[in-house]
């Protein structure tokens, strides 16, 4: 068992894939010489050289266009977009080009590429450097969408994303970078599976589904709810596309209560789709309404006191569930 930060898990995951396949290449702004603005890619340039780990200008369209063109001609690029907010400046390449070109060309092309990006709040960066935009990506047919919450999942899901033949948007959570996790000793590469949710705490009274940083808050909330006599099952969704609905529906069948904890703003957040699926397919399993605990539908404010009161907190999760779930 080794202790590893989420940040170091990113570089370890990229290193593992660069070592595994000579067609894997990595590009982004300040990723090579500087080791990334979040220091999540340190050591890669030194280990793999400038041909495979390459700094790019501040040109997000050019970066993702390069990744797309390289992928369609045989490389397996990993591209970093420094902050997920910046996906907005290259959304054409993602949503119009990468996502649709396999379909439009009747399967003539493949796009085995990964777009890594730092997502989410908690850093007091304000509304243009703190957004949770995983629901943007989820809304576009042709994109796979992953958001790990732990170091082990970061390595394993990144490996699965790189080895997947389809484009994957890989949302790393900024507030998770400094977190430390136990990573079991492992012989060989760590490779996980896309489209699989994980029950990270078993329970019987309510199901809480969460993603990335919100998984940790849901776990803390579940611990406190246990003290109030409520047994909460916590599911780390991990992968929004493909979506492991079987794990979620199975849990709801057991607990009869569903809560989502979402950092994205409320309207059309990822939990809305899960709520819709559960309402359609597990209505008779439910003993109460599906309740979504989300960031309200506002841009994220910068001040620490405001940001903390905007993103779902452990307290808000506990209060919402304690008020609405039977015990």
């Amino acid at each position: 068992m080794a202790e590893l930060t989420y940040r170091d898990a990113v570089s370890r995951g990229i290193a593992q894939e660069l070592a595994n396949d000579p067609n894997v290449v990595f590009l982004g702004e300040d990723v090579a010489g500087a080791g990334g603005v979040f220091k999540a890619t340190t050591g890669l340039l030194e280990a793999f050289g400038p041909k495979r780990v390459r700094d790019a200008p501040i040109s997000e369209q050019a970066i993702l266009g390069a990744a797309m063109g390289a992928a369609m001609t045989g490389l397996r690029p990993i591209a970093e977009i420094m902050f997920s907010d910046f996906l907005a400046v290259c959304w054409d390449i993602i949503a119009n080009e990468i996502a649709k070109s396999r379909y439009m060309t009747a399967g003539q092309m493949s796009f085995p590429l990964v777009i890594r990006t730092a997502n989410g709040g908690g850093s007091r960066f304000g509304a243009q450097h703190s957004q949770s935009v995983e629901n943007w990506a989820m809304a576009v047919p042709g994109l796979k969408v992953v958001a790990p919450s732990t170091a082990l999942d970061t390595i394993g899901l990144l490996a699965a994303a790189v080895r997947d033949p389809d484009p994957v948007i890989f949302f790393e959570h900024k507030s998770c970078y400094p977190m430390k996790f136990d990573v079991p000793d492992h012989d060989g590469d760590i490779v996980d599976e896309l489209g699989t949710a994980k029950v990270v705490r078993e329970g019987t009274d309510v199901t809480i589904v969460a993603l990335a940083l919100m998984v940790h808050r849901a776990l803390d909330a579940a611990e406190r709810l246990a003290g109030e006599g409520i047994s909460a099952e916590v599911i780390d969704v991990r992968s929004l596309v493909p979506l492991d609905t079987a794990t979620i529906l199975g849990s709801v069948a057991k607990t009869s209560r569903l809560y989502t904890v979402e950092e994205n703003p409320r309207l059309c957040g990822w939990g809305a789709e899960i709520a819709s699926i559960v309402a359609e397919e597990a209505f008779w399993d439910l003993d109460g309404p599906v309740i979504r605990i989300t960031t309200p539908h506002v841009p994220l404010p910068a001040a620490d006191s405001l940001e903390d009161a905007t993103i779902p907190s452990v307290e808000r999760i506990v209060e919402t569930i304690a008020k609405t779930a039977p015990n």
Partner: protein
């Protein structure tokens, strides 16, 4: 005091007239077989697109289409100059570039008609023609994006040291979008084997490029900002285009990095099927029709001693090929509705959940 630009100039600007044909181009060192290829490619594109327009008027071509009538020399010049394993990245005005790489007419026309025997099974349409086996790596309908994508293919060529080149074609209007500037800069600083070809037909859609670009040559005059040579060629002279293409492709192939070529040309019709092109001065249209690249090239070949019979045979064969393609496209079945649910993912399917 600043002056406001007057948009009342719309459709009422001074005509932009073509330069005369440079007689020296007849002396360029291009062998007769290559010149016959250039002639044939221009014929094929011209007759194919005229037929596409006829079929649109008959209600058989659905959606939109953007024709290259008048601009054929550029596609032909590059098509003849490129290596079979080079890559073409075209725009929504991409019929010409697709045919110029050797893609057969029938699947291209059938795609315009939305048939199952279309190049993309009806799922892409006129604006997304792609044939990977011919090196046509897509036609892109959002201005500027494919310049960035072409760099990625060029990166693969550089990474694997294959000597392949990615060529991206685009219109004059593209020189005003951010992706153009990102892509050209990126290609230069990464020294990528990308050739950027601006087909300056004088109009961004419906508006004169002179009203929306601050320099007379919207691509070439910006080249120096990216450390590139300013290259302007006669886009209505296949020999001039071919010669410029060979030079740029050789530079890219040999590690010399990207080039930016501006080819001056004119589209005989409007921007798309919806546009009659009435904003163009009559004198300008007439002058450019007189500079039609195909009759000019016909005369040049005769002047070089090519037998008229060889040229008329090519024209006849091409016309017959268009007839065959028309019939095969019209006879093509409609796509199977099950194809709606194929090829979202590499496994062939569309599933997003278990």
């Amino acid at each position: 005091m600043t002056t406001m630009p007057s948009y009342s100039e719309y459709g009422n600007h001074d005509p932009v007239l073509p330069d005369p044909v440079d007689p020296a181009n007849a002396e360029l060192p291009i062998d007769v077989d290559t010149r016959l290829t250039l002639f044939r490619l221009q014929q094929e594109i011209r007759l194919f697109e005229k037929r596409a327009y006829d079929l649109f008027l008959r209600g058989l071509v659905k959606g939109t289409s953007h024709l290259s009538l008048g601009q054929e020399a550029i596609a032909a010049g590059f098509g003849a100059a490129m290596r079979p394993d080079d890559w073409t990245f075209a725009t929504y005005r991409g019929h010409a570039h697709t045919l110029a790489r050797g893609v057969p007419m029938t699947p291209v026309l059938a795609e315009l008609l939305g048939r199952a025997n279309g190049l993309l099974g009806g799922k892409g349409g006129s604006m997304h023609l792609t044939s990977v086996e011919h090196g046509v790596m897509g036609s892109y309908a959002i201005i500027g994006a494919h310049l960035c994508v072409a760099n990625g293919a060029a990166w693969t060529a550089q990474y694997n040291d294959t000597g392949q080149v990615a060529v991206a074609f685009f219109g004059d209007g593209t020189t005003n979008i951010g992706a153009f500037h990102e892509a050209v800069n990126f290609a230069k600083v990464w020294n990528l084997p990308t050739v950027f070809v601006c087909e300056n037909n004088l109009y961004m859609e419906y508006t004169s490029i002179g009203h929306v670009a601050p320099v007379p040559n919207p691509a070439a005059d910006r080249a120096s900002a990216y450390g590139l040579e300013s290259i302007v060629v006669d886009g209505n002279d296949a020999d001039a285009v071919y010669t410029a293409a060979i030079a740029a492709l050789d530079t890219a192939r040999n590690g010399g990095g990207p080039s930016l070529i501006e080819a001056k040309t004119y589209r005989h019709g409007g921007h798309s099927r919806a546009d009659p092109g009435k904003y163009r001065p009559d004198e300008e249209v007439a002058a450019w029709m007189d500079r039609d690249p195909i009759p000019m090239y016909h005369q040049r070949l005769l002047g070089l001693g090519v037998d008229e019979g060889r040229l008329s045979a090519i024209a006849t064969q091409t016309a017959a090929a268009v007839e065959t393609a028309t019939q095969e496209a019209i006879d093509g079945p409609l796509p199977d509705l099950a194809s709606i649910y194929t090829d979202v993912w590499a496994d062939g399917g569309w599933q997003w959940r278990n």
